[in-house]
């Protein structure tokens, strides 16, 4: 390293114009390199506010140095250094925001609901598919009760089988379960449901078809179970039992399936854009929705684990479920908030 090069005499005595150019600017380059190196090592606290404020400006200075050097200098070492430095600074300046909380605030304050509205068309399709799935499940089982076991599976069905007495079925809805272990139950439910919805989203990669199949299957199970309860006249009670957490959970699964479908649709029909670009845009939007889905599933698991077991009458269950549905709908489709995470991002950079 040539430490003492920046003295005026050294600049004047340099034989080549491109070397003078380099000596005049080297201090800025070195300063940027120091800041960038610190940030790469994760020592954000060691950087003074002054340096942080200067970072974007220094980045642009060095980037313009690179442009000039490319047109005027043939010093391969300098060019290579500048290119590497600009790239490193670009990583930092255009890297992810440093604060996750800042992002989260923008996300909750409008970014999430905006993303949900942006995939509105896919939500409609996914909703239609879910309704169709439930109807299919109902019709299949009413046509031939044997279907029930194909759909639901023996383990999961337990006592809830076609032909079970009204008393048994009533107990599955209202039996005073022991309240211990509810919290564990909720945590497991969340972990399981979150994994399923991530799956529904990720399967969108295969043109969205598996996402829809997953929706159909899940809702067919629901439809089949509804039919079993309908046979003994417990339709309303069953609906209440589902509604407590179902309005939140089914909404979340709906969004996850729609997000998967959104990606699948943009892979299959990218429109005028290049397919990779279309996919990436859809993927980012869907990822926002999915982050929200995981949050919704936390709420759903809490409702399922606690509220459903503790509130033991149909009317109360409907009240909770209806309130949640209203809340989510209002948040997604009526709440506009700020412009989403972009605004917060700009504030964070400034």
């Amino acid at each position: 390293m040539n430490a003492a090069v920046a003295t005026p005499s050294a600049i004047e005595s340099a034989a080549l114009r491109s070397d003078r150019f380099r000596l005049e600017r080297e201090a800025d380059w070195k300063r940027l390199e120091t800041i960038v190196t610190r940030m790469e090592k994760g020592r954000l606290r060691g950087i003074s506010d002054e340096d942080l404020l200067a970072l974007p400006g220094l980045y642009r200075t060095v980037a313009s140095s690179l442009s000039i050097a490319r047109e005027t200098s043939l010093d391969a070492a300098t060019l290579g250094y500048l290119e590497a430095l600009v790239q490193r600074a670009w990583f930092v300046v255009y890297g992810p925001r440093s604060s996750l909380w800042e992002w989260l605030r923008g996300f909750l304050g409008g970014g999430w609901s905006a993303a949900v509205r942006a995939i509105g068309f896919d939500i409609l399709i996914a909703f239609a598919v879910m309704v169709a799935g439930a109807v299919v499940g109902w019709l299949l089982v009413s046509h031939d009760p044997e279907w029930y076991f194909a759909l639901v599976g023996k383990d999961m069905a337990g006592t809830r089988v076609p032909g079970a007495s009204a008393k048994v079925l009533h107990d599955t809805l209202f039996a005073p379960q022991q309240k211990d272990g509810l919290s564990i139950f909720a945590a497991q439910l969340f972990s399981n449901n979150a994994q399923v919805s991530i799956l529904a989203f990720a399967l969108g990669f295969a043109f969205g078809v598996p996402s829809l199949l997953l929706l159909v299957h899940n809702l067919a199970v629901l439809g089949a179970m509804a039919w079993v309860y309908h046979q003994v006249g417990l339709t309303v009670d069953f609906a209440g039992w589902i509604a407590v957490h179902g309005t939140t959970e089914l909404f979340a699964i709906l969004l996850a399936g729609a997000a998967g479908l959104h990606i699948g649709r943009s892979i299959a029909f990218p429109g005028n854009r290049p397919i990779l670009q279309a996919t990436a845009e859809a993927g980012r939007r869907a990822a926002l929705v999915m982050t929200g889905v995981v949050l919704m599933l936390v709420v759903a698991a809490l409702l399922e684990g606690f509220a459903r077991q503790l509130v033991n009458e149909t009317l109360g269950r409907f009240a909770i479920g209806g309130f949640m549905l209203l809340l989510w709908s209002a948040y997604f489709f009526a709440f506009r908030g700020n412009a989403g995470p972009r605004k917060a991002r700009r504030r964070a950079r400034a």
């Binding site: 994760g42 060019l79 990583f91 990436a280 980012r284």
Partner: protein
């Protein structure tokens, strides 16, 4: 950019990326080997974390003997165990889903595994790497990696077809990066991200300055002057080759290069002083080529006019 510098060794990994300022930057796509290494390192770290936290929680719980009964019992110890179990379930979920997210959302854009391998993620379009991208590329990891692995482990080898299907699934996604030139995995396609090598390059002293400083240190040196037609024989490519030789500073290659150049321009006065001769030639050739550049005349190599 009008001219992509010839000095860039055009390997199959080099790409041009245009920053929002409109500057074309040469970047190198991370090799698939480095990415596999990074993934294995990260998985190793995750496994260690999982095992560590499980062991820690169990030791807090005081061993797993009769835990089943204790959980069901309505005592204080039962509640404490319940709480620990919830913590464990949440931790497992986080390790599986949040490990990559947490690290790639940081300013370094790389998990510890990636950092050790000297690679990081970036936006493919040259713009900002956003949180949405990081989330999207890591949600896909679930079907690429964890789902088939969990499936394989749970099914085992006894069900032939399921095993085959899971292996096929796993291979399709694992081999995905082999079938596109940027080494994108499915998550990168969805997110619009890619994985690049982190550049490291120190600023080396300019060759043309070094000579002058050694002059100052006192050694009396012969100066060489080259005539216009002696400099006109070479172009930028040769200049950069010469720079490389001078920087490497190996006796033998300097000797060879001196022979070639002196032979070509027909001079013999640099005998036994090859390095100084070549440095002088380098400086003057660069001065000539650079002044040509300023006039808009570039000479790529010795063959071009």
């Amino acid at each position: 950019m009008s001219a992509v510098p010839t000095r860039l060794r055009r390997s199959h990994k080099d790409r041009m990326l245009v920053t929002p300022e409109g500057i074309a930057l040469p970047v190198a796509v991370a090799s698939r080997g480095a990415r596999l290494g990074a993934l294995l390192l990260d998985l190793l770290i995750i496994v260690v974390l999982i095992v560590g936290s499980t062991v820690a929680l169990f030791s807090i719980a005081g061993g797993m003997v009769s835990m089943q009964d204790a959980i069901r019992s309505n005592s204080a110890i039962g509640h404490a165990l319940q709480f620990l179990l919830i913590v464990w379930i949440v931790i497992m979920f986080l390790f599986r889903n949040a490990y990559f997210l947490f690290f790639e959302l940081g300013p370094r854009g790389a998990t510890p595994g990636k950092r050790l391998m000297g690679i990081r993620i970036a936006a493919r379009d040259g713009g900002r790497l956003s949180a949405e991208m990081v989330i999207a590329r890591n949600l896909l990891r679930d079907i690429e990696l964890f789902l088939p692995i969990v499936f394989l482990l749970s099914v085992g080898a006894d069900s032939g077809w399921a095993w085959l299907a899971a292996t096929g699934w796993f291979l399709i996604f694992m081999l995905f990066p082999l079938f596109n030139r940027d080494g994108l995995r499915a998550g990168d396609v969805i997110a619009g991200s890619w994985v690049l090598e982190r550049p490291r390059q120190k600023l080396e002293a300019a060759m043309s300055l070094e000579r002058e400083r050694t002059d100052e240190s006192g050694a009396a040196r012969k100066t060489y002057q080259f005539a216009e037609e002696e400099l006109a024989v070479y172009g930028e490519f040769e200049l950069q080759a010469l720079e490389r030789v001078l920087r490497e500073n190996r006796e033998q290659s300097i000797e060879t290069v001196y022979q070639t150049i002196a032979g070509k321009i027909g001079r013999t006065d640099g005998w036994n002083d090859e390095k100084a001769f070549l440095e002088a030639y380098y400086t003057q050739l660069r001065a000539r080529l650079e002044s040509g550049m300023r006039m808009g005349r570039r000479k790529a190599d010795k063959f071009s006019g």
